[in-house]
Symmetry: C2
DNA sequence: CGGCAAGTTGAGCCAGGTCAACTCCGGTGG
DNA sequence: CCACCGGAGTTGACCTGGCTCAACTTGCCG
């Protein structure tokens, strides 16, 4: 058992019979020792989805515990008249636990790109989480991160204007280190998905990108890649600065109450 | 130790030297045995806030682990120009863990009414969570509930219209069993707070309540109490039904994709 | 080269924001 | 007891940011 930790320390990657996620140190499987890993292997199954496909209801019931291995998964809600919202993105390493959702109406999990994910055995997962503090901490902090990401998403949606939301999203992509390319940021989703995530129309998204580009704050290299030209201004816009965002000596408007 | 569980089974409430939360079976302290409880007591402190008061930065750093004992606590974000958003409400029994927030900008915790909360010792909390499966499950499901509440809040904010948001909020209050009064629902926050939670203006909130009342869906008894007159219609509105919501034979508009 | 999906641009309109006035409290002091 | 005050909520009138609809461009795949 401890031999495996020794291997890990020596940089030799552990193997996982099910998925390829062990390669990264910041995920659940990487925290497991050999016996835990093989137990989890035995009770887990890899599955994949093409873009636009949904994880079926029966899978969600039978396997309420998922780990994203690759791709972008989304949680979507649909209103009666067809309006749709993406409530959250799940990326590599995110753990989705649908067990305690109770009567609460959960949306559907839909792939935004080709996705592979691992269906975990709840009982084995629980046993590991009980006995392995490192794994527990990781799982806990992943869930925490989901909460706080969601909270700041709420803050974006509630009171920000269209451009501010887009600016904020670009920074979110950057922060989440999706693809840390120096001053380039990759937007991992299509415009229409972005619109549903930010509660806007695709047309408005488009106009906002153009707006930011005309102000010289960003440069749209391709639809999926943005170069940051004035990061501090982008931050100001994302935080709701009202005017003067393109001047260095920006005057903060301090409002009471 | 097991003597305490025996007492609990016999309906004799356990005592907690710090706060009064033990009375409810659905909270963290209620899952603890005598020794755990006294250990937690030793490392915890009760604190209180008046309405409008903020938990200071230094308290949040020194005590990143809080449990709400009574009242309504809110997580607020403020933009540079003063626009404010309430991202989430925390009510009795909610556990707030600020430890894994990393560099992510967290808002401030502000009391919406008189609040008492318990500052928990992280080390003792961790020890208990490790050894006590019941407590762990409860804490985990509380965090889960926060995530999914936040997700459906996002769904409300992103694409719903003003009336739909308000309808949805009324149902949320009902679901959360804040005050389960048959067909009456208590709105635990002021209109202005509600506005900040739903990303609207107080004026619009007011208009929406009136709108729902004029349609005969609800009856506003006091500003804080609503009587449900047509629950099914309220649900339809909250779920984004477009027209005919006031007729019983509502025709669902099924849209593809 | 056609066909389709994604994204962009333009023109018009309306839901909800904004501003201002007014009502309705509960508390406080003379 | 009443006059006064301030905060919360409501109502009305106006205005605008972003939605809507429709046309167009672009890129990808067979």
């Amino acid at each position: 058992l401890h031999g495996t930790e020794y291997q890990m320390a020596a940089g030799i990657p552990k193997t996982c019979a099910v998925c390829a996620m062990y390669a990264d140190d910041e995920n659940f499987c990487a925290k497991l020792d050999a016996s835990e890993l093989s137990a989890l292997n035995a009770g887990s199954h890899l599955a994949s989805l093409g873009r636009g496909e949904t994880i079926p209801e029966d899978v969600m019931n039978a396997w309420p515990l998922l780990a994203v291995e690759s791709g972008e998964l989304s949680l979507q809600y649909t209103l009666r008249d067809g309006r749709r919202t993406i409530a959250s993105f799940f990326l590599t390493g995110d753990i989705i636990d649908l067990r305690h959702t109770d009567e609460r109406r959960l949306g559907s999990l839909i792939a935004l790109s080709n996705v592979t994910f691992c269906k975990l055995s709840p009982t084995i997962f629980d046993r590991i989480v009980t006995s392995n503090p490192g794994a527990r901490t990781l799982v806990w902090s992943n869930l925490q991160a989901q909460v706080y990401r969601s909270f700041s998403h709420v803050a974006d949606l509630a009171k920000k204007k269209a451009v501010e939301k887009v600016a904020s999203f670009i920074l979110e992509c950057r922060n989440r280190h999706l693809h840390p390319l120096a001053d380039h940021v990759r937007i991992p989703v299509r415009r229409r998905d972005l619109a549903e995530y930010l509660g806007m129309q695709p047309e408005t998204i488009s106009r906002c990108f153009r707006d930011l580009e005309e102000r010289g704050v960003i440069e749209v290299k391709e639809t999926a890649v943005v170069r940051l030209r004035k990061l501090s201004d982008l931050r100001l816009i994302a935080n709701g600065a009202r005017e003067g965002y393109d001047t260095p000596g920006f005057k903060v408007l301090q409002m009471g109450a």
